[in-house]
Amino acid sequence: MPRLLAALFALAAPALALAGGAIDGQTEKQPLNVHAIVMFLLFVALTMGITYWAANRTKSAADYYTAGGGITGFQNGMAIAGDYMSAATLLGLTAMTYTQGFDGYMYMIAFFVGWPIILFLMAERLRNLGKFTFADITSYRLDQGKVRTMAAISSLTVVCFYLIAQMVGAGQLIKLLFGLDYAIAVVAVGALMMVYVIFGGMIATTWVQIIKAGMLLTGGTIVMLLAFSQFGFSYTALVERATSIHKLGFKLMAPGPLLKDPVNAVSLALGLMFGTAGLPHILMRFFTVNDAKEARKSVLYASGFVGYFFNVIFLMGLCAVLIVGQDPQFFEGGTVGGKLIGGGNMVAMHLAKAVGGNMMLGFLAAVAFATILAVVSGLALAGASAVSHDLYARVIKKGKASEESEIRVSKIATIVLGMVAIVLGILFEKQNVAFMVGLAFGVAAAANFPVLILSMYWKGLTTRGALAGGYGGLLSAVAFVVFSKSVWVTVLGNPAAIFPYDQPALFAMPVAFVLAIVVSKLSATSTAAKAEIEAFEDQYVRAQTGFGASGASKH
């Protein structure tokens, strides 16, 4: 599979790999794109200014990890939407709509539907119980040392794989869009990320994400409106003409290969939904707002932006069928219907050029770069927090670390993570990293989510049960991915996959839940476990009322 494709899949979610055959791409270095570079430098200058401003406001640990809890619901909604909409959302899903039509729309629905569930069942409890990391919640009434160690291991697993995948994707994409060398691109992303996170903490990371989300929404909307205007803003005219020239004909608007197999379809839907609810950098966003009220509003705004943008992308993809798909300048050798210049994932970029010239192309390319940067910053901060807040402050120092030393450890951890990401990003240049995002989502859904939800909802959860469920989910998610086609066949070169499905969630999640419940029941008679079960009562009242929760003001 061509590398760009792999990289873009890696940027998105594991499920994109399902549509593997549908998109084909090739990574070729393009001529230097001056418009894009100028616009990206403007973005960097702006965000550096913000980082400087944020650095002066980042004094306490709460400022560093959660922006002091002072982010509003609207701002946080933008930031969450930004975390959720990666470069691959823009490029990969436009391309998927362009080639497969309705499949792209279905994928976006599955990607969207987790948000209402997170709101109804998790958002306010997360806010009421958590402080800096989600391990604050899972370890609330359990053995701090053991449970936090486990949460930190699974968080770091998620963050590292996701980070490497993003770095490889960033290098490929920037080579393609900006005409820069792969290694330069990877180092630039790593270095900028370290500056944002180390100096600006969560305040800078959040604002980088907000600005980028604004750019993405604006850029996407303008391209869509310019393109759609060519069809008189008539959906009927658009579909009529698109289906008349597309090689799928009217089947463009019917389900294609993406969700053919019901087991894969359900597993994909579960993985997207609960993987999202277990990603440490997304969960951390719920601690940046003042109270449960703002946490709920965050989800309302975030899901509004995400839902809106997915519909914009769908229209962009359909318009591209006509505007890009019939224009020889976008095909290699000028043969319409042949290979797209720069690969299949360049559809959105070609569309921008077709409707808005080099200026629009440059803007959208800059948006894609900014997007990667913002997402890796959020990931790095979440990983560094797991090291400093969970491992260093709570496990090693047993809660006796000073705020200064905790922040210092977090900054060191960010540098280490940044270095690791740069080195591995360069080492993995020629590898297929699609499985890494599959792994990240799988671990998030199977190791983080079950323990988190049980700790909030089930009084019977004990330390041993949580450990069994967490480690069991982690190992089984890793095992299912390793034995699936994406690693066993594609990476390791074996002839056939041992585990026949692409998505681990449907299988690894039950393993985690069953282990957590059974081991909790078996260990429920010990004195420690009895105290833990008893402590649920107070935790439950706090989860419901928010009394005692950490707010914007320090306690």
Binding site: F102, Y105, M106, I109, A110, F112, V113, W115, P116, I117, L119, F120, L121, E124, Y235, T236, V239, E240, T243, F250, K251, M253, A254, P255, L259, K260, D261, P262, A265, V266, A269, A292, K293, R296, K297, V299, L300, S303, G304, G307, F310, N311, E537, D538, Y540, V541, R542, Q544, T545, G546, F547, G548
Partner: protein, 115 residues
């Protein structure tokens, strides 16, 4: 201290009311979303051709796109409905519970002082 506060809150009948009212509401909405979405996934798996049909003879608007757009809009409306009710009715009830517990704690403390 805070454990005593939590105990007071838990003993308050309003707390039970909050928990059951909000729980019922949240689960009803969650269940609605899950049933509609997984229902849609089942149609995709077992009767995909249906989704490619136009909603009316000769129309360019298909069943699948209509259902998809419906889900985007309807699920978002449900989140708005939940946020609205939680941020007004449930939050008001919550602050009453906290106030009641604080008042009871203060009364207990002054009672002890008198004795």
């Amino acid at each position: 201290m805070s454990s005593a506060m939590y105990q007071r809150m838990r003993a308050n009948p309003k707390f039970q009311e909050l928990v059951s009212r909000r729980g019922r509401f949240a689960w009803t909405l969650a269940f609605t979303v899950l049933v509609i979405f997984y229902g849609f996934v089942m149609v995709v798996a077992f009767n995909p051709a249906l989704l490619g049909q136009p909603i009316a003879e000769g129309s360019m608007i298909t069943v699948g796109v209509t259902l998809g757009l419906f889900m985007f809009v309807f699920f978002w409306i449900l989140t708005a409905v939940y946020v609205r009710r939680a941020n007004t009715e449930f939050d008001a009830l919550t602050s009453e519970i906290v106030q009641d517990a604080k008042a009871a704690t203060a009364a207990a403390a002054s009672g002890k002082g008198a004795a």
